[in-house]
């Protein structure tokens, strides 16, 4: 398994600590279900992206931590919903049984909504109204019909059907790109970054997000479930990037997307070194 960059550990610790504080496992069933997925072992790429975006724009990590946690909570919520029998019907997630397998479908749905609400609540409580308002709108777009929900809906409709490349992109943009983009933007916003910096980070996240998804598709075909933490060939019924270009072509395009993401960081110079390491890590997952 490709190790995450060494600097990740520190960020992961801070994020995990904050997540445990915001969503403690109080023992009741819903809290337990929320914590089960949220606190499961994860690379925390999205919240780390938020913290790095804040840093590259001159912001402080503590100020960006609530936003980073909100991103992870939304992500965990989307994972619970995605795995439901009515959706992808996946049994394994983050190296463990999926949430609905352990807690039942009803509790899993409630846990997902609990995490979603906690994400918005964290934003609202942690930032001044103007910034909170902007970030709430950002998160709402990332979750909504143009984001995660729209992507998942398109994905479901595409199952067992031949879809176009544009449709595939639409699915990935919603399911992965939207939250990557929101994670980068929210980090920059907490640092009070100007529009140009926010846009540069969005370009970075957009390209990196798609590369991430293409590599996921590749790992689904070629990966080891012991390493990836989820069953392989799960997407056999679906059209993926690999369907369009073959594994070699997908690998090539993912590499180009990572390079483009790096180019988007040019305005930040050496300050963006860790973001480049993140991009290199994403690219290395396929090697």
């Amino acid at each position: 398994m490709t190790p995450v960059p060494r600097f990740f550990a520190d960020y992961q610790d801070r994020i995990d600590g904050e997540l445990r504080r915001v969503v403690p496992d109080t023992g009741d069933r819903v809290h337990e279900a929320m914590a089960y997925t949220l606190h499961a072992a994860s690379k925390r790429i999205r919240p780390v992206l938020t913290l790095l975006a804040a840093e590259v724009c001159g912001g402080a990590t503590p100020a960006a931590l609530p936003a980073a946690c909100a991103m992870e909570m939304v992500h965990a919520s989307s994972l619970i919903l995605d795995d439901l029998p009515s959706m992808d019907d996946a049994a394994i997630r983050r190296g463990k049984a999926a949430n609905h397998v352990v807690f039942g479908e009803a509790i899993a749905i409630l846990a997902a909504f609990g995490l979603l609400g906690a994400a918005f609540g964290t934003i609202a409580r942690s930032y001044e109204p103007p910034l909170a308002s902007r970030m709430t709108a950002l998160l709402s777009d990332a979750v909504g019909a143009e984001g995660l929900i729209g992507g998942q809906a398109a994905d479901l409709l595409a199952t067992d059907r031949q879809i176009t490349f544009e449709m595939l992109e639409r699915i990935h943009r919603g399911k992965t790109g939207a939250l990557f983009s929101a994670a980068a933007s929210s980090g920059a916003l907490t640092a009070g970054a100007p529009g140009g910096s926010v846009a540069a980070l969005q370009a970075f996240a957009k390209n990196l997000g798609l590369a991430f998804q293409i590599i996921d598709d590749l790992l689904d075909v070629e990966g080891d479930p012991a390493i990836t933490g989820k069953a392989i060939r799960e997407d056999a019924k679906k059209t993926t990037f690999v369907s369009f270009s073959g594994p070699a072509g997908a690998r090539q395009l993912a590499g180009e997307l990572c390079q483009t993401a790096d180019r988007a960081l040019l305005p930040f110079g050496r300050r963006a070194e860790r973001l480049r390491e993140l991009s290199a890590f994403v690219a290395a997952r396929m090697s």
């Binding site: 709108a137 544009e166 992109e169 846009a199 270009s245 073959g246 072509g249 997307l257 483009t260």
Partner: protein, 641 residues
Amino acid sequence: MESPPDPRQREVDDLRRQLRSLGYLDAGVDRFVLAPAEGTRRPIGIAWLASVRIGMLAALLLGPAAAIGVAARVPGLITGARDGFVVAAYLGLLFGAGSAAAAFAMCMGASMVVRKPAIHDRRRGLALAAGIAFTLACLGYLTLWWDASTFGERSAMLRSAWTIVPLGFAAAVSVLLGHLVTVTALAVVVAQRSGAVPERGIPGSSRPVVALASVLTFCGALLLFSLTAKSAPSGPEAPPLTVVSSGARVRLIAIDGFDPRIARRLADAGRVPALASMLDSASAGIDVVDTQDPARAWTTIATGQPPEVHAVHGLETRRVAGVQGAFAAGERTGLLRAIAAATDLLRLTTPAVVSGNERRVKTLWEVATTAGLRTVVVNWWATWPAAPNAGVIVSDRATLRLERGGTLDAEIAPADVYETLRARWPALRSEAGAHAAHLPAGVEMEGLLRRSAELDALQAAIARAVTPANADLVCTYLPGLDLVQYGLFHAAEAAAASPSSVARRLAALDEYYVLVDALLAPALDAASSDVLIVVTSPGRITEPAPGMLLIKGDVANPRLRDGHARPTDIMPTVLQALGVPLSQELAGRALVEMFSADFGRRYPVRMVSTYGPPAADRAERRGQPLDQEMIDRLRSLGYVR
């Protein structure tokens, strides 16, 4: 042997193209435009913020390019790097504001159109249409701008090379700005419907499409340019001028405000013998064309070209704030005057006096100097700044400099002539005063007449002081008669003058003709081998008499009376007298009928293709400029309001 293309690789290439069209694999310029609109939901807000960025980019790209075009089109405006920078900044602001306004209008237009149900699902097409429309408008304007700016290029080769690069630049800028308008329009129309800036790709942004659009745009620019290109004269470089001289030296005296009817009456009365002698020599009436502005009229005479070619359109020009050079305002219509007044009020422009920097063609003395002749010019309009290496030039600002003293600011060239004149200045003033003292006491408006007489006498004295014995051409401009005539009959108080006062003023004018006659007399006394040419203009009066061209000397044809001349004929006629070949580009012709048959037989008119543009040598300027003093002087003389 070439291997067949890998079908898998073709698929990857196709996917890459699609990804680009969807906005991936691009870390580029789109975010520059939409970045300020981040977080803005209202279409008008997105359109405004993004259009400002488009305007900024257009300013950056087009300002310097347009400054190059303006430098070619408005000679005299840009006198150095600083001027170029300032003009580029002004034009950048202009183009930036224009581009931003156009982009804003197109985006808002698209947002209004998209409200129609039939257009709902054509947002990308609508955005693309806005971008294409902007590209075409931008390309058309840039191409026509360049076409207008380069009018007058002489060399076809240079014109071709000089054209391809800016047209390519115009095409690239148009495609880029058009793309940005597409980006913005798409964001606006999506926001109009869903309230979110789109993350979808931009139509028409894949590399093959951009490449094809660039090629098509460039071809379009070439086509438009070739369809609209003016038939600018194009010929070989200026050939060397070979003088075939009769040995005659030419003395050209220009008298402004001259009325031949008065001169004839006084000649018949025996009061102006020198003028009478001239009137009895070869003479031709000059068409009265546009003599109200002396700088324009006398530059036409000196260059043999109409104002639209020589580009000295008026005495009064405007200097743009921060720019050393000036530009002519052209015909001063009421609207232009109002604009000039407004920009003056805002301190964006200041009034200035026309200079030789604005002139696009050579004067007769510059041509003669190029041909190797020794020339002197005194007090001719628009001769400041005095160019180096163009003979002796005592410019229209020289008298002011001699009065004020101090370091030269290109009022006189060569610089040692200034030292000579400074040393002799008291004597010259005294000589001029003595001349004016011949004015009868008690004459109407005696002060005006005395000042004018001194001014005329000073020019004549300066001409004598600076003219070397072997000078081939001496040109002297005498403004006094025009000043007197204007002061006597066109000043405010003249309009309300009583009949008896008018009679006294007419008598005073007669006295002034007598003084002019006295100034002319020494030239007539010169050796008969010299050619004395007197050219007159009716000046600034509203019902002018015709001008006159009078030639006296061995080479003149004394039997020619009442010939016909145009203002543009004077220069070639003077150059023909000197034996200098004439340019085919001149608007006028040499009046060979004014020369004797023998002269015409021995010295036929010879032609060359061109005299070339004026020398690029810049006059050396060190002293304090006399700009404001010159304006004040001209205002006091009634030239400038």
